[in-house]
């Protein structure tokens, strides 16, 4: 044991190192994509800033002021170099550093996503197990039907339905919009978080439930579960120890994908609720052609998703001896 553990730790470190290296390469690819695609957007920030009544003189002056007259390669290297050192540049629209501008947005969206995960993951595991226990049973049908319904609706429609149900038409128990006060942390304004969290949780959970269900079903018909049942082990214990324990690794990967999905889902949901987060800011920044802000948000979301995947990989490795040894 004493000789095995360090080598295992080293293997995991090696594996993690490889994942991180791939991650860095991916981020560079993402940065190239983001940079070229945002450059290709039609329209012009300078005209957006100066408005309908801009004169050619004002346009040329602002363009030079913002460094937009330099070659693209120079702009890209300057931007990438800045980002590596944590400098995201300045917003073209407001002239404030992008980092300052996004600080409270990142906190708001992180709060939204974190609360949603804390609610969604246990709920999805419970519902997934419930419907896997009796395939074709009432619970299975109910869960599948609701999942189908939710999957057929765009996120913003789900948001609007909840607004109609809980805020404006059917009942008026919750606030219909969520313009957080930036002077307070998001968590201190819980009533404004309920509907966005609910919408995000409802739209994201079908994927997670479905994957838990599939993995559990595979486990529940497997040899070792049959053996456990035949040995007279209680059904609940069979489900937790023999089913769920083995179904978890694949579900963790789906959970990581769900995080990425949630970050994407915030774009529509934050807009519906006028929630001042990264997603709504991305929409505004694209509309305003505020390219540094667009680039920073996409890079942040990309990096967050990547970190999620790497952590999921790590968890899977730690949970599955097979994978651990396969690395060796």
């Amino acid at each position: 044991m004493t000789t095995r553990e360090p080598s295992e730790a080293r293997l995991i470190a090696k594996l993690l190192g490889r994942r991180l290296a791939i991650g860095v390469v991916m981020m560079i690819v993402v940065s190239l994509l983001v940079f070229t695609l945002t450059q290709a957007l039609p329209g012009d920030i300078v005209r957006q800033v100066l408005g309908q009544t801009a004169t050619p003189g004002q346009i040329t002056r602002l363009r030079a002021e913002l460094g937009l007259d330099k070659p693209l390669v120079v702009q890209y290297l300057h931007w990438l170099g800045g980002m590596v050192s944590g400098d995201f540049g300045s917003s073209l629209a407001s002239h404030t550093p992008v980092a300052d501008l996004l600080a409270s947005r990142i906190q708001n969206t992180a709060t939204l996503v974190a609360i949603t995960i804390v609610i969604t993951v246990p709920l999805a595991v419970a519902l997934g197990v419930l419907s896997a226990r009796r395939p074709g049973g009432v619970a299975d049908h109910l869960v599948s039907a609701s999942a189908q319904l939710v999957l057929s609706l765009p996120e913003f429609v789900v948001g609007i339905i909840f607004i109609l149900l809980f805020a404006t038409n059917v009942t008026k128990v919750l606030p219909p919009t969520s313009v957080l006060d930036s002077r307070l942390p998001a968590i201190a304004q819980p009533e404004l978080l309920i509907l966005p969290v609910l919408t995000l949780a409802v739209t994201a959970s079908p994927y997670l439930i479905e994957s838990v269900k599939t993995a559990m079903r595979e486990q529940l018909v497997s040899e070792h579960v049959r053996w456990a049942r035949l040995s007279g082990i209680g059904e609940n214990r069979v489900i937790v120890h023999f089913g769920l324990r083995n179904a978890l690794p694949s579900s963790i990967q789906v959970a990581a994908m769900t995080v990425a999905y949630l970050l994407g889902g915030t774009v529509a949901i934050e807009t519906v609720f006028s929630f001042p987060g990264l997603g709504a800011e991305l929409v505004d920044a694209v509309a305003a052609r505020d390219i540094p802000v667009v680039q920073a948000i996409v890079m942040i979301v990309g990096a967050a998703s990547l970190v999620g995947y790497i952590l999921a990989d790590l968890a899977v490795i730690l949970l599955t001896p097979r994978v651990r040894t396969a690395v060796a």
Binding site: G51, T55, S94
Partner: protein, 498 residues
């Protein structure tokens, strides 16, 4: 001076007994705006956004403004009067103080104007006639402007929120103005909070705190009003009025304005390079149907020229009406075979823009036009291709006749995206701005408008009502037909009884 006062009419403006009712200041007034933006600035001279204008109107005063009747009135000025000729103007300031308690002086006004010219800020285009080196300050409250050339548009030029007066040594990062509200907290694109200046010259604002809250779209804003998260929803889409009216605790206040979504016919592109096609196209627009279907009645008829609340607006030209048969006949007589294809580019510059364009397609089809419509986002619309669209829908208004012409119609107009010019029109314009005699000036203006009516390049189909929805507790709404904002942005005179 008596003659001048009589003949200049709107140009000579003297403060009419400034009454400041002692109203208790209390509570918070929360106003929804669609939408605030990151590019909203606290520097009035650099403001280009709806949010920037709304903010400027709270923090600062302009020398003059358009009042509840749409007519010019003094604001920070007490009076604005021309000399014997229109190249000398005297401005007297009222007793007012900055939000830090210092008095507003004539030197601050000079510093404001000097700042525009030194930093080449946009308001310089409003006052091309001012020589910043030729402003005399005989005393603390008086300025005498010696203009580069005579113009009667002097006092109108100062109504723009961008022309707000700031103190000498102004720093936009720590804005100080003489307006009814001082800045409290600024979260760009999300929320702006103001606190009342109890010593405002027009009396303490009726609400202690004012809050602007941004919404992504009109329906979110109305939702917030239904949920009592805001007290006032500004610029409500007429299509949402019925939703608001279904709630007994809410009310709608509206008034006709000079704002318009106007179709711009580009005379450098086919088919509108031919005046005959322009004439036919104006007959292909059913203005009344636009009012009924797109605006639910919240609009008034337009007659293809601007500024209906300007005292010089000619109300006597016959109202142009929908006549698809005559349009077809005109086209046929000129040798065109129907349908004549027209490329139309639009954007969501107003909530109703797309609906107005969609209805035009149907109306014009019956008149022999095949309108091919392309909707783009605002950044694309106002991008490099702006001014090259054969037909486009632009948002204009809230200007007097001369400013509108100087911006969009005359030969030198910087935003004349129709590229239409008419030497006769330009000559009349130059004459009119220098003419002090009002009947003579009115005659010249009417001749200008006749040219626009007969052969111009704009279709001004309707003028939009300003529609504000609010809780029944909020009172004090007045009509400000020449200001683009609820209650003319005068939130200090609204009272929230809730």
């Amino acid at each position: 001076m008596k003659i001048l006062t009589a003949v200049l009419g709107a140009s000579v403006i003297v403060v009419a007994g400034c009454s400041a009712p002692p109203t208790a200041t209390s509570g918070t007034l929360r106003v929804g705006i669609v939408s605030l933006a990151q590019s909203d600035t606290l520097d009035p001279a650099a403001a280009t956004t709806a949010g920037g204008y709304a903010i400027a109107a709270q923090l600062y005063d302009t020398l003059t403004e358009y009042g509840p009747d749409g007519k010019l009135r003094p604001r920070l000025a007490e009076s604005v009067e021309p000399g014997k000729t229109a190249d000398e103007w005297t401005v007297r300031l009222r007793d007012a103080s900055w939000q830090n308690g210092d008095p507003v002086t004539a030197k601050d006004v000079v510093a404001t104007i000097q700042r525009w010219f030194d930093q080449k800020l946009p308001p310089t285009t409003l006052v091309p006639f001012i020589d910043p080196a030729k402003i005399d300050v005989p005393d603390q409250h008086t300025l005498v402007f010696h203009l580069k050339y005579p113009t009667t548009t002097f006092s109108d030029a100062f109504t723009s929120p961008t022309a707000a007066i700031v103190p000498a040594g102004f720093d936009p990062k720590h804005p100080v103005g003489s307006g009814p509200y001082a800045l409290d907290d600024f979260d760009p694109g999300v929320r702006v909070t103001f606190k009342a200046d109890e010593h405002y010259w027009n009396g303490a604002p009726h609400s202690k705190t004012l809050e602007f809250v941004s919404f992504a779209d009109g329906s979110s804003e109305v939702n917030a009003l239904l949920g009592k998260q805001i007290d006032v929803a500004s610029q409500v889409d007429p299509a949402l009025v019925s939703t608001v009216k279904a709630d007994q605790s809410l009310q709608v206040s509206s008034f006709p304005s000079s704002g318009t979504l106007t179709w711009v016919m580009n005379v450098q592109q086919k088919p509108f390079d031919d005046p005959v096609v322009r004439q036919a196209f104006r007959l292909a627009v059913d203005r009344q149907q636009l009012i009924d279907q797109v605006y639910d009645g919240y609009a008034t008829l337009g007659n293809d020229y601007f500024s209906p609340f300007d005292p010089l607006y000619d109300h006597d030209l016959p109202q142009r009406t929908y006549d698809p048969n005559r349009a077809k006949a005109v086209l046929q007589a000129a040798g065109y075979t129907a349908p004549v294809t027209v490329q139309l580019v639009g954007t969501d510059n107003r909530p109703t823009s797309e609906r107005q364009n969609q209805l035009l397609i149907q109306q014009a089809a019956a008149a022999g036009f095949d309108v091919q419509f392309k909707q783009v986002d605002q950044a694309t619309f106002y991008g490099d291709a702006y001014g090259t669209y054969p037909l486009s829908l632009s948002y204009w208004g809230f200007l007097d006749i001369f400013d509108q012409a100087a911006e969009t119609i005359t030969k030198d107009a910087p935003y004349n995206s129709s590229h239409w010019t008419d030497p006769q029109y330009d000559k009349l314009f130059d004459q009119a701005v220098q003419t002090i005699d009002e009947p003579a000036r009115a005659d010249l203006v009417h001749r200008m408008q006749k040219i626009e009516y007969d052969s111009g390049a704009y279709v001004v189909p309707v003028f939009l009502d300003s529609v504000t929805a609010h809780t029944a507790n909020v009172e004090g709404f007045e009509a400000y037909p020449n200001t683009d904002g609820p209650n003319g942005y005068h939130f200090d005179t609204l009272t929230d009884k809730g």
